[in-house]
């Protein structure tokens, strides 16, 4: 476990690293998006403001599209721009470009759109409580037993709600499209996680009008967290159309308000849980889960989020008789999309809260109740996948020990007797399946390329992007440590669809787990095939063989079989595991939860770079804690969310003391780490609040207004 420094650290801090808005091209003009401020309706008229010379503007609408007005996604139902009916607030109506950005913004602000408004669904409960509002394919995981519950089993039934979470990457989304009429190609530089997704998007909108589409990311991508996964396809399509029409490079960098109002967010959820627990053994014997997501106006990639969500919805518990039903619901707000965790944080927010509810009502300590019910070797996930390790239990044991949980439970209970303010402690466990769900990795068939030059420089070509998570440093490290080569002699090519092979998108905690391990395998393979101990010496003595290019594709494990219709089989070959204990201090006079201490233990297998891994864990945990305690998005008034004054992010004043430990690091396999830190903090905060006050809150986040209401009731 080494701590190789990130190669891009210094230029990022001294300001020389180039982010998208730092790029400029000759004759480049600025673009922006004109979008709907109406949730649902028909456009009657668009009134451009007077006193502007319209001939100076380039304007694109669906009639300018040479290809198709449909964004290619898992479900192709979202248009690039409004065709007839406005389906949500923030839906793009037109792309507009002008050489003067300030004037362009003023023009768009003064443009008035007349709508014929139609009824709209904007509230979370309005969307998710209405059975008729369901759309798309329903998924069921049926691990039921044809047996009625025993009469003495304790029945618990509750509904849990989570709301939007904004990715809030600090660099707003940006794109530059450059149409070259001579080559008849489109070059796009963009802040995106998945260059090949963007390529498909631009190809779809441009149709046969261009011969080639090339996507390259900017040198720096200022955070993403899932938010730069699917929206960039739509965004790049419109900027490319603008560039094609005006014949000049077009740059669109979103204003923060626009970024918040039109891009994807974490899906709000309603998760209804019914459990039956044997009072003699304290084992949960039966569980029924109704997992609902608010997909927004279109399905886009929500079915994939839904799949991952339901696959994590039983949390880490072995329940013999389980049925899980997953459905998407429609609302007139922007399509929700990827956000770190991808459906799993909602699942754990519900089940980990429910576990504490059962434990409290059965008068058993939440830790003990978890221990009784946690996966044991030989148990089955609801998909029938066998549990092969008890590392989740190891994480829980370790975090309980580190946090001195048992003594603190007693100590806080005593302290709370004599104080108006309260102290609380809460547990949660989680896991995260690495890589694409089911057969996804098999279908992706990811490819990597490595070029070894005559001077023994190694260049790695992958399409996975580094948006701050340190992927490029860690990927290079996995290769050069395996092949035994100096770090300075390994470089990573900036993702570019004409140079880097398609190694898949930068999502699903798959970059290190799939691509990193693939690079490692290639390194060992080259050592074996060429029989060298020292690559540099070998290259020097075999100059005629170099430069040489090596390719390798991901080889799926043939034993991984998953039926995507019945959801039976192995959903994920490897899982990362984690458990946490969080301590809170409840300020009774201002109804505020202060996060005091956060203890976290992970099993992510081999930790390639300890400092990068720790940073990933810490950042993800704070996002998860804020998801549970403070980040509030006012959904019914989408247009009221303007920026970080309305959507408050945690600051240095909101931090708990944080402790991170990785266990089982002697493993050969580096598993996924990107998402699991965000999966479990929220319910542990909720459980800590219950521990402090005896009150259950079943709607996240635990903001003061909600706590006040609960305490009054």
């Amino acid at each position: 476990m080494k701590c190789v420094r990130k190669f891009d650290a210094r230029p990022k801090l001294d300001g020389s690293w180039k982010f998208l808005d730092d790029y400029s091209y000759p004759e480049m003009i600025h673009g922006q998006l004109l979008y709907s401020k109406c949730h649902h309706g028909y456009i009657k008229k668009i009134n451009f403001p007077p006193n502007y010379d319209l001939s100076e503007f380039t304007i694109v609408s669906p009639k300018d599209i040479p290809g198709e007005n449909i964004v290619p996604e898992p479900v192709c139902d979202q248009p690039f721009m409004v065709d007839k009916e406005v389906m949500h607030y923030g839906q793009v109506i037109m792309g507009i470009a002008h050489p003067d950005r300030k004037l362009l913004l003023k023009f768009i602000k003064e443009t008035k759109i007349e709508y014929e408004e139609l009824p709209a669904i904007t509230g979370i409960k309005e969307c998710l409580e209405n059975e008729d509002n369901h759309f798309g394919k329903e998924i069921t995981i049926d691990h039921s037993i044809n047996k009625e519950p025993e009469a003495d089993w304790k029945y618990h039934h509750n509904v849990y709600y989570t709301q939007h979470q904004e990715q809030a990457y600090l660099e707003p989304q940006g794109v530059i499209s450059i149409y070259d009429p001579k080559a008849n190609n489109m070059f796009v530089r963009i802040t995106a996680q998945c260059p090949f997704f963007v390529k498909s998007g631009v190809e779809a909108i441009m149709g046969n009008a261009v011969d080639e589409v090339i996507i390259e990311t900017s040198e720096g991508i200022g955070g993403a967290f899932g938010g730069k996964e699917d929206f960039p396809s739509l965004f790049a399509g419109i900027s490319s159309l603008l560039s094609y029409k005006c014949g000049k490079p077009v740059k669109i960098v979103l204003e923060r308000t626009d970024d918040i109002q039109i891009t994807t967010k974490r899906h709000p959820s309603r998760i209804e849980l019914e459990t039956w627990t044997d009072p003699v053994t304290n084992k949960i014997m039966r569980c029924r889960i109704d997992y609902r997501l608010d997909a927004g106006a279109y399905q886009t990639l929500s079915p994939v989020v839904l799949a991952r969500g339901i696959l994590h919805s039983i949390s880490g518990y072995s329940v013999p008789d389980t049925v899980i039903r997953g459905r998407l619901f429609k609302s007139n707000t922007p399509s929700n999309g990827a956000f770190r965790g991808f459906g799993a944080p909602q699942a754990f927010a519900a089940m980990e809260a429910h576990i504490d509810r059962i434990a409290a009502e059965m008068n058993i300590d939440p830790y003990k109740f978890r221990k009784i019910n946690l996966f044991k070797i030989g148990d089955e996930f609801p998909t029938t996948q066998k549990v092969l390790e008890e590392n989740l239990s190891d994480c829980l044991e370790r975090v309980i020990q580190k946090s001195d949980y048992h003594n603190k439970v007693k100590e806080f209970a005593e302290w709370n007797k004599t104080h108006k303010d309260k102290k609380g402690i809460g547990i949660a466990v989680a896991y995260h399946g690495g890589g694409y769900t089911g057969n996804g990795e098999k279908i992706l068939n990811s490819e990597i390329k490595v070029v070894i030059e005559k001077d023994a420089m190694v260049k790695i070509f992958v399409s996975n992007t580094d948006m701050g998570q340190g992927a490029h440093t860690t990927l290079a490290q996995m290769f050069f440590e395996a092949i035994g080569h100096p770090r300075e002699k390994c470089k990573i090519q900036l993702p570019n669809t004409s140079k880097t092979p398609n190694s898949g998108p930068t999502v699903a905690s798959r970059t290190i787990y799939i691509i990193g391990n693939l690079l490692r395998k290639l390194a060992f393979q080259l050592k074996d095939e060429f029989g060298f101990d020292n690559l540099e010496e070998y290259v020097n003595t075999h100059q005629e063989e170099f430069p040489q290019e090596f390719h390798k594709n991901f080889t799926p494990d043939p034993s991984v079989i998953f039926d995507e219709n019945t959801f039976v089989g192995i959903a994920y070959k490897d899982y990362s595991w984690a458990a946490c204990v969080n301590e809170i201090y409840f300020h009774a006079d201002i109804y505020k939860i202060e996060l005091k201490k956060s203890w976290n233990v992970f099993d992510v297998g081999k930790v390639v770079n300890h400092k990068i891994a720790t940073g990933q864990a810490e950042g993800g945990i704070l996002q998860g804690l804020a998801y549970g305690a403070s980040e509030f998005f006012y959904k019914p008034g989408f247009g009221r969310m303007h920026g970080f004054t309305d959507y408050a992010l945690p600051t240095t004043l909101d931090l708990p003391e944080m402790d991170i430990e990785f266990i089982h690091t002697d493993s050969e396999m580096a598993k996924g780490l990107g998402e699991i830190p965000t999966n479990f903090p929220a319910p542990s905060v909720r459980n800590a609040f219950h521990n402090a006050t005896g009150i259950f809150i079943d709607e996240y986040p635990l903001i003061p207004e909600r706590l006040l209401k609960a305490l009054e009731e």
Binding site: A9, L13, G15, D21, Y169, P172, G220, G223, T614
Partner: protein, 149 residues
């Protein structure tokens, strides 16, 4: 309107509109370390020093900057290295978008806080948002730089 701005101890002539922010003018002049994140004075990535004190350049009219000394991270030179090193040593840099502003604000904090404590540091840096790191690694490094355990 025409301005003469002292940026990093060099004078620059700029022809600006009266309503232009210092952020936009600095970026136009090529100081790309000054980032744009929110335009509402809430994220801190546009921080620069005016006469040694950190301000949010998106909320500061460029016209008001004439006659003052403006410092961006490019202007700190070697003084930035010590801060950059402590952050890098903790592996705390992630996407880097907040990085230059954090380095500048930390430098100003060192000049201003005579008896730094963890609480004072956390208060001083509360306006510099970071979405990636959870602040933990940044603060580990910065506490070392400030001589606070």
């Amino acid at each position: 309107m025409k301005l003469k701005l002292n940026i990093n101890n060099r004078y620059y002539n700029a022809n600006i509109d009266a309503d232009e922010s210092l952020l936009d003018v600095l970026r136009h002049l090529g100081f790309k370390s000054v980032k744009k994140g929110c335009d509402t004075g809430t994220c801190g990535v546009c921080s620069v020093l005016i006469d040694g004190e950190p301000i949010l350049s998106c909320q500061f009219l460029a016209a008001r900057a004439e006659g003052h000394k403006i410092t961006t991270v490019e202007g700190l030179g070697e003084k930035a290295d010590e801060i950059i090193d402590v952050i890098i040593n903790e592996g705390a840099d992630q996407c880097g978008y907040c990085g230059p502003a954090l380095v500048l604000t930390t430098y100003a904090m060192k000049q201003e806080l005579k008896n730094p404590t963890v609480e004072k540091i956390n208060h001083y840096l509360a306006g510099n948002l970071c979405r990636c790191s959870g602040y933990e690694g940044q603060l580990r490094g910065i506490k070392k730089y400030m001589g606070v355990e």
